[in-house]
Structure formats: C-alpha cells, structure tokens
Symmetry: C2
Subunit: 520 residues, 2 copies
Amino acid sequence: MLIGASAVRGFGEAIYAVNPATGERLQPGFPGGSAAEVDRACALAQAAFPTFRETTPEHRARFLETIADQIMGLGESLIERVMAESGLPRPRLEGERARTCGQLRLFAQVVREGSYLDARIDPALPERQPMPRVDLRLRNIAIGPVAVFGASNFPLAFSVAGGDTASAFAAGCPVVVKAHSAHPGTSALVASAIRRAVELCELPEGVFSLLFGSGNTVGSGLVSDRRIKAVGFTGSYTGGTALMRIAAQRPEPIPVYAEMSSINPVLVMAGASAARGKAIGTAFAGALQLGAGQFCTNPGLILAIDGPGVDAFVAGAREALENAVPQTMLTPGIHAAYEQAVAALSQHDAVSTVVRGGACQGAYEARAGLFETDAESFRKMPELREEVFGASALLIRVANAAELGEMLEELEGQLTISIHMDDSDTADAAMLLPTLETKAGRLLVNGFGTGVEVSHAMVHGGPYPATSDGRTTSVGTLAIRRFLRPVCYQDMPEALLPPALRDGNPLNIWRMTDGQFDRR
Amino acid sequence: MLIGASAVRGFGEAIYAVNPATGERLQPGFPGGSAAEVDRACALAQAAFPTFRETTPEHRARFLETIADQIMGLGESLIERVMAESGLPRPRLEGERARTCGQLRLFAQVVREGSYLDARIDPALPERQPMPRVDLRLRNIAIGPVAVFGASNFPLAFSVAGGDTASAFAAGCPVVVKAHSAHPGTSALVASAIRRAVELCELPEGVFSLLFGSGNTVGSGLVSDRRIKAVGFTGSYTGGTALMRIAAQRPEPIPVYAEMSSINPVLVMAGASAARGKAIGTAFAGALQLGAGQFCTNPGLILAIDGPGVDAFVAGAREALENAVPQTMLTPGIHAAYEQAVAALSQHDAVSTVVRGGACQGAYEARAGLFETDAESFRKMPELREEVFGASALLIRVANAAELGEMLEELEGQLTISIHMDDSDTADAAMLLPTLETKAGRLLVNGFGTGVEVSHAMVHGGPYPATSDGRTTSVGTLAIRRFLRPVCYQDMPEALLPPALRDGNPLNIWRMTDGQFDRR
C-alpha cells in the first residue's frame, strides 16, 4: 500500500491476482490494510487538502500531466502486468493507457481554462434603492478528500489513475484509492507513478494514497471516515448501493457517485431495419463482444420493430457471433457469474437462444449469447431485465413505435440508449425522444454506446439505477463538477479574495459579471 | 387545495392560521389532503412534464413574469392576509413581496439567457487517428416534477411561489407545493395567482398544485411518490433529515435540497474591535433583531478576540437591545420554542446573561437575548452549539486568532460566517480564510448574513447540517442547477436535436464548442 510517501505492507489477508488466461496465481501477494491504514491515509489527505486545493491552475495542471508522463514511463512493465492480471489483449490495453493519460491531460486543460470555477461577480451598487447592493463574488472550491474505488473492467481508465481520480485531482481534492482486488499489481504500479508525480511537483504527500483490502473493512471504513467528503465508484448495483447506505448514515452524509448497472437498450426502427437490418446485426455483434462484453455500456437489450428486417438483423448477428472467437473474461468470478446468468437465460421458459459464440478453449473464456423473448414476458419477469455482465443480449420484437414507447416507459434508468434509424423513422424517433431523454444519460443514433469519448460534451451517467446520481457524469470534463461546491464572498477586500475573483481577472478566465459572460 | 385546475376541499383535519399578534384563530379552515390528493397532483405533474420542460425559453420566461404580475395583482388582500397570518409588519412584507416577484423576474432572465443549459458541442472528427470522433452534444434537461415545502419564516419568498418554486419552474419542472400550516390563507392566495398564470400562458394544468396537510401523510407521501424527482425544503434539522431519510429509502432515491440549521458565526477581530467595537455591537444588535431573529442567517454566535474592544462591543449591543421594542414571533409554537431555549440558556451554569430586550406586551412577543459563555464550555457542551430560532446569540471571548481557528474547525457547516476586521487584521483573516471556506457557503466582511441578495453570485447554502447538500444554493440564479441533469446526444440528426444544440445556435446562447465558449 502507499500511504502518502510511505510504502506500507498490510497485515490482512493477502490479495493475489489470477491470470484469467492461464488460471495462474500471480505473485506477489498484496496484504490488505486495516482501520489504522484508512485512518492514516485520511489524516494525510485532510492535511494535504488546504495546500492542494489552492495550488495554482498551472501547478495542478502540471501535476496531472506529470502523472500521465510517469504512467507512460512505466512502459512495458505496466502493460505486461495488466495483461497478466486482466487477460485483456495488448492493443486494448495500450489504447486504454492512452485514454487514461489523455484524460489526465484533458483535465489539465480544464484546470488551466478555469470556467469550471463558475466565477461570478455581482458588483456593489451603493446607490441602489431602496437598499444598496453589496459586492458579491462566487467561485467553486474543492469539496474535500475523495475516496475512489477502482473498477475491474478498466484496470487503467476507471481505476487508480482513472476518471474519478483525474477529475477529483483537477478539482483540487486529495484522493484515497481502494484498489480493485482483480489487479493489485497494476494498481501498485500506477500508484507509484502518481507518487512520483506528487514528489516531482512538490505537493504534500497526503494528496494520494492507495489501500488494499479484501473484505469490507477498508471500503466501508473509507466511506465512513469523517474526513472523506465524496466517493467515486464504478461497479455493481449491490456494491454501489451498499456505499450509498453507508454514506447516508454518516453524521455528515456525503455524495456517492456510483456508476452501477445498465442494459443499454438498442432500438431498431422499422425503416432502418428494412433498409439495412443485416448490417445493423453485424455491427451489433461487434459491439456486443468488445472487451468480452464487460463494458457498462454493453448493448444488453434490442427492441426491434418487427418485420423482415429483423430477420435480417438476426442473420447478421448470428453470422458474426457464431464465428466469433471466444474471449477471456476478467476474473474467474466474473466468468462464473456470466456462465450462470447465461445458463439461466438458456433454460428460461420464456427465452429462446438465437445464437451462441464458438466453442471455448481457456477455462475463463466466454461464449457470446443472443437470446430472444417476447414483450409480455419481458414486462412481467424482472429477472429478464437484469444486467448480465458480459457479451449477452436479449432481443424483443415489438409491433410498432407506440409499443416501443410503452416498453421504454417501464424501463429503469440507463447509461445509454441507441436508436438505429433512417430518415423515414424520424417521426417515430421524435415521438420517442422525450421518453429516451428521461431514461438515459446518452442517446446515440446509428451507433452503440460501447465507445465512450472523453470530451466536453460526454455524459457517462444516467438516472438511477444506472448511477446513484443522474445529475452528473463520470466521464468527460463535466465530471469535475462532482467534486466542487460554491462559496460566496461578500464585500471581501481584494487582499483576501482568491485570484479567480480579483478585479482585473488575473487568471484570465471566463466569468459572469452581473449575469453577463466575459473574460475581462 | 389546488390540484391542477381544480379547487379541491380536503377531508382531513382543518388547518387554521393563528394571528400571533392577537392570538385570534383566523377563518377559514383549510382541511388537509390525503394520499389520494398527493397521487392526483403527482399524476398531473407527471403528465405536464414533457410539455412544460420543452416550452420555449420565451414561453417559460413569460410564465414566470406572469406569476409575478398575478401576485402583485392580488394587491392589498394578500398583504393583509400575510400580516394577519405571520404578525410581520407591512414594510417587511411589501419588501418580501417585491423580492419574491423580483426573483421570478430574475429567473425569467436566466431562462432567456440560456447558459444554465450548459450547452456543449464536440463536433465530429472523422479524420482523427486512431479512431474518428463522433458528434457529441450536451444540454441540461429538467429533472422531473419537484415537491416544494413552504417555510414558516418567509411566507412569500420561501413559500408557495418562493425561490424553490421559481428555480424549479425556470428549469422546466412542474411543482407540487405542500403549504406551511402557519400561513394557509397566504398559500391559497399565491397558489391562485400561479394557477391564473398557468391558464394565461396556456400551460398544462399539472404544472402546479398546492396541497394542505397537518400531519406527515401529505409530506411523506409527496417525497415517496415515484413521479417526484427532487425536493426543496426550508425548515428545521428534524424536518429536513426526515425528508432525506424518506428520499434515500425510495426504490429510486432522489435529491433533497433541505436548508436546515445554522448559527452563523460572527468573528470580531482584534483591530476592528479596538477601532470600533461599540459600532459593531450596535450593528450586531440590529441584525440580531431583524424579523424577530427568525432568519436562517441570524447571527447566533459571536467569537471575539478578547480586549477592551469587546467590552465596547458589549456596551453597544446592550444599549441597542435593552431599548429594543419586542417583536411578535411567527407562530405560538415558534414563540414557545424560543422562550424555552432562551430560558435554558439563562439558567445554564456555564452561561451568563449579558442583556435582554425590553418587556413584552403581546402574548407571542419575544425579548432578544445576548448571552455569554467561555470557549471551553462551548467546546464541551453540544447544547450550547444548537441553533436558537429567534433573536438570541451567544458571545465567546477567545484569546487570539489561533484559538479562533481551532474553535471554527470544530464547528459544523454553516450558511454564513461574518468577519469584522480592519486592515490590521488582514493577516489573521487570511490565516482563518481556508477554514472559513470549508465551513460555510457565504463569507462576509464587515456585515451580517441577514440580508440575502437574490443575484447571480449569491450562495445560500453550506456544508451539512446547514443544508443537506452543500454543492448547491437555494437563493440566487445558481439555484436552477438543482433541478437539472445533463443529457448527451451522439450523432443525432439536426431534425431531432433540441434547439439549444442545433447548428447555427438558434437560441443565441453561450455554448462550449470543443472546450471554447462562444455564442456562434
């Protein structure tokens, strides 16, 4: 573990990663921490907070960029360890590393640009009648130390130096990470890169700590700790809601940003299906199998307006899937859960199997699966609406756009909804759009949600239970807002005002003066 | 009650307001509603939501302005009813009415200006390597129907058409108000004004409903209703945390924006106290007594660096308070709670009485009180840190700025903290400022928090337990953000895009394109 500047060995049960491609247990073991290490990491984070949150934009931006440099500097040793711990192929992991570093660099730009501070100035109006107006200035400040839980499925991009950590650092929040037990070695390597960046940028050691823990002690201890002011989590519904409960029961409740579960409906409209059903089916099969289906945005439900085009869709999907090479899943546990869920679907009275992927060789490889059920069964049987983590999807034929709308109304919140449509489907799509907007954080046309761009306009969020808090996103620059709160300064002398709010705009950022944006 | 377009008489226990100046029970009674009325109001709100949230900015702005016009149109009948129900003097209520209408008009400007939509466009980059970028566009949409609880202490500005309602309407959310039982007649009048505005603006009836209820059925029913997506509340810690628990236990938890309790520390620094201790004491006495001290921002704690200036402060406060005319409190219940809290302070072993206001005449009049205790008792005895709702404050002399800082560290979250300082206090104030920022939503220099400007840079919020959610404000234009969530549109054809995100910027609003603000 890394507690501030100190490498610390825990006394708890050791965590060993398993290479899912070979079943081999990987050395070394990483003994878990206890309440004492949680306390120490939180105390250091708290001590680092006043300094870190008031670092200059340039200083914090360079810190983010230095982390990216240091991660790249780990070179081959990092890639090899992640491959061993995750079973994911090299190109995917090199891409994920690029994305992770790109994310850190993008947040550096956000920090330099400064509009995330939401600086606002309402100048004094001493002559106003019947009462003069005081001078009021507002900026966002960092919320406090943040606890981040690494995710299994993106061992780099949603883990130790992933999106939650990058956005919390950008906001000015120290971070305490609980490593995911599936990739402790990767976590330790990335933590060492962050630690080096802390040193190189001469920041207080408590800006970052990494903890291991196999049970719940470390995780629940972190979320309960009075010094932690927000939580970032990507994982299961069970895990996310457990953290929400702990956070709500604290003497001071704190926000939990948990990205949890989504079946990401794919709507296939009549015109699109008639014109190019087969091509949509082929493209769907590709999206379904990306990363062995272990994406939060995996397309788990297809709602297709019935017609010959749907048969073409099925033909396209079948062809692509039955020849597909099975892929190794992330962990034995995830593989077992997938096999169980798919077996349950295969044997379900209301479900027929459309196609399964080719035969497996490795012990933890998984065959993709496309299943079909009818609308009525789907509406009646909640087990059919549950997320299957992996490359499994359920197809439902519906009579028309109106029935599609009714089914959507009954769905829970989602991360994404895709619409496959042609010009002739525009009226139907327009009719459905208001429902789609209330059901998901991202709506896509003629694509699949599996690629999540890290940019300014991305929303990787959505109404409960897709996430715990649909007012936010965990990917993209808007994610910084999760870790900020506004403070108003009234009649504060120039000498005490933060630079963002001083006269003359020394940071040269966008500000709102008397309700008007400017950069004066 | 008003359920959409229908005036409905409840079958529950009738609520009668009491004129606190006379003790007289006011006619008529307002029978409370039941689960059936909650259900009907929420169903109508849900039905109105798709239309209301997509009204044009101009349409929604005119709706807000029409409400203001209609409230003014109630004229003398409104002022007389509020005076009778609250015991508040006419000038204060005319001012509060102006503020309420001004708030509605300011939100109309916010809706027209459009930057609250946070429109962002990341144009497609088809040539990008290694992967093209899709077209991504983001805007905020209204979160859904909102439940608003009227507050006792601002029967207009924080009640039926108060800040929560105005900001929710501005965001595009239908509102169901539960009236405060202290001013049912005022609530019914204001509700009729909103109802007229709904009609005049040809909006769906479910945009607004008003419910009465004396027990918890209506309130908890509203917060539990699956169609309600957020809650606005101003009131007690007990009430606010009860709503938070209900909201957290729903199948779909929702945000509760509860503004609850704050003792609003006033720091008197050494230089200021030496130079003008008496004047600060006089000004403090004025702030303490505003509205009979029934403000969430009432200055309930003075932390003064000890010295002769503090004696001058006490002299100034004593002179002003002992000659002060007692004021009528809002309700018999509030009066009783105040009397009990002040009696407990008067009799507390660790507390001495500095001064009490002049003798009372009316039954529900209250005498202001300034008490003193020592730092050690204050730190040890939690009962001394509790908010007293009314014109009571506790003075503590501290040795120096360092001790002041230690005491502030131990305080809970606050709405406001005031610093009285001169130039010679700048170094001490700068040392304290980081702590102040983490403890309160608004920091004031040489003023008191009791005036809350409705503007762009205002924050009326603060860390728990001042509010349930320190990331937001309940006063000022930033309040609109509580009722919004972001949605991302990927590769959406122009015909389906909302106007805010179309090419050519038809709404002429500020947008972020590729990370740069512009109005193209």
